[in-house]
Amino acid sequence: MEKQWNRTHTSAASAIYGAINYGKDSNFSLVDVMGLTGHAFRINIDSKEVNVAGPTMFPGGYILRRNLCNLGFISCLADAEAPVPPEKVTQTIALIQDSINRGYPAIAFDLFVPEFGLIYGYDDEAQVFHAKDPVNSGTVSYEKFSDVRSGVLFVTTISEQLPHSKYEQLRMALDMIVDHTLGREWNHIFKDQYRIGLAGYDAWMNVLKQRKADPYGQAFNVMVISDAREFAVQFLKELERNWTADNIVERTVRKLASEAAIFYQQTADSLIEIRELFPFPEGGNPQDPAISDRAISLLRTAKQGEEEGIKLQERLLHFMKAYHSEVWIY
């Protein structure tokens, strides 16, 4: 089946993509968004049982602010901790309403399911928001929206558009991707339970070795991560295809992106195979030693691909920070 490049299982990217497209002259594709936000390169593994929360257990405010920044937007953030004081509830509602009045939906979390979604309308008389997330669409009352039992009352809104060049965008994206993959990304309160980047593969293999994987959670993780890496490959291929040969920057991007794409293809292929072993939502049988060992072997291959891929991306990042001379006579 042909991969659809306008849908992803990474809800943060869907929400960002959905939101920025309300802007008049947004010309980002979902592939661009997945790549430039770094979501195509993320892996966030619960080290106990690869639980279902993994893919969304990152510091939302920090990551989404940087994501929007990479794409050329200033953002606003509400993330008051539960129990949320009434004043902060109404301030958060006001932030959403202000965004909608300016024509942009607000990015929220856990509207219908614990995923990122969009609030695109409000009605004070009925005290409801109009909202959509990966599973549902409809109205959510202000009261229910505010009733956060744990965690934070999360909303990110798009503020001003502050575009920068495609060179800047790519450099900022690579900075996030490299930091994530090498485990340097700020992981806030999640760092004790979740492993990111290459360490995520190790944590996952370890869970499988111990036969402790939660079938549902693991199936969800592999669905999200394999989809993400397919986008990663597509993003790198599009860099190669769309950038020109006009100058050393464009040429270097094309060269390194095309080389990296090969390694990420290895990663994506292995993850797709694991996805078939553990189909969502049933999750197959991770208790079966033969299946688990096969999955571990595939994860090792996936990790190897990513290890090589990230070396190239890191090289590209250093290059984008300080370009080589176009002509060098020595």
């Binding site: 306008n6 849908r7 809800s11 869907s14 929400a15 959905g18 939101a19 497209n21 309300y22 129990p83 949320v84 004081p85 009434p86 004043e87 902060k88 509830v89 109404t90 509602i93 006001a94 309403q97 909608i100 009045n101 024509g103 939906p105 979604g117 969009l118 695109y120 309308g121 409000y122 009605d123 004070d124 008389e125 005290q127 109009h130 959509k132 997330d133 990966p134 669409s137 202000y142 009261e143 505010s146 009733d147």
Partner: protein
């Protein structure tokens, strides 16, 4: 059944207003019948109790605070608490020492702190881990009803400083706030809640008072706190929406739905 809290509160606020200028005081315990009547919700009886003991209470408070303004504040708080706790007073004959203890508690709490917290005190003595009451909304732990109540009374007092002549009306506002919050509880929840937060009774005492298991009291208190927290947010949202309508801000705006995720 009708809501006895409402009438009691109105009565209380009125009593405090009416007795502001009273000169009368007495060392004699009030007639037991008067206390009984007040406990049963008799408005005149409670007014009379306040009238009889207001100046005495001010004396107790002032002997600790050495500040008549502060003493006035303490007594107003103490009377609100006394009123709310009245139902838990077992022996009507002990009204006077009981009231004195409440006033002294209030006064000591206020005096315990200095510096910027000089005029603050937690609403309950039993907030052991929170030495200073919250000054600002963002400091309030909204899962902790002590703090909510403290914050409510404090913000009301702040306003009272600016609009002195209607200070008594602002008292009514506190009571309105408390009332509207407790309104979300069932009768049983409210009795236990009040016994704990206004009566300052430990859960084990409440358990024996109402013939419950201590564990159930904890459950009920925790459930009640959560309900009160939700109720507080519900009311804030109502106010917020009304405020927007008053300010003629758009009441409805719906963008085109986003494409499917």
């Amino acid at each position: 059944m009708s809501n006895p809290i409402i009438t009691k509160e109105e009565l209380l606020v009125r009593s405090i207003m009416l007795t502001n200028q009273t000169n009368e005081t007495t060392n004699i315990s009030p007639p037991t019948e008067l206390v009984e009547q007040a406990r049963a919700g008799d408005q005149d009886a409670f007014s009379e109790l306040v009238r009889l003991h207001r100046k005495k209470a001010l004396g107790w408070a002032e002997s600790i605070t050495k500040d008549s303004f502060l003493a006035e504040d303490i007594v107003q708080d103490a009377l609100i608490r006394a009123f709310l706790k009245l139902g838990t007073l077992m022996d009507a004959k002990k009204f006077l020492p009981w009231l004195r203890q409440i006033v002294r508690n209030q006064a000591y709490m206020k005096m315990r702190r200095g510096g910027p917290y000089k005029h603050e005190q937690p609403f309950s003595l039993f907030t052991k881990q929170k030495e200073a009451g919250p000054l600002y909304a963002e400091q309030v732990d909204w899962s902790d009803v002590d703090q909510i109540l403290f914050y409510l009374s404090r913000s009301s007092r702040e306003q009272a400083k600016q609009k002195e002549p209607i200070a008594s009306l602002l008292r009514a506002e506190i009571m309105d706030n408390i009332r509207s919050l407790l309104h979300c509880l069932t009768e049983k929840e409210r009795r236990v809640f009040e016994a704990h937060f206004f009566g300052e009774l430990a859960p084990s005492d409440i358990a024996s008072l109402f013939g419950m298991q201590t564990a159930n009291v904890y459950n009920l208190l925790s459930r009640s706190k959560r309900k009160v927290q939700k109720e507080r947010i519900r009311l804030s949202i109502n106010d917020y929406v009304k405020e927007r309508a008053r300010a003629k801000l758009p009441s409805k705006q719906i963008l085109a739905p986003p494409p499917d995720f």
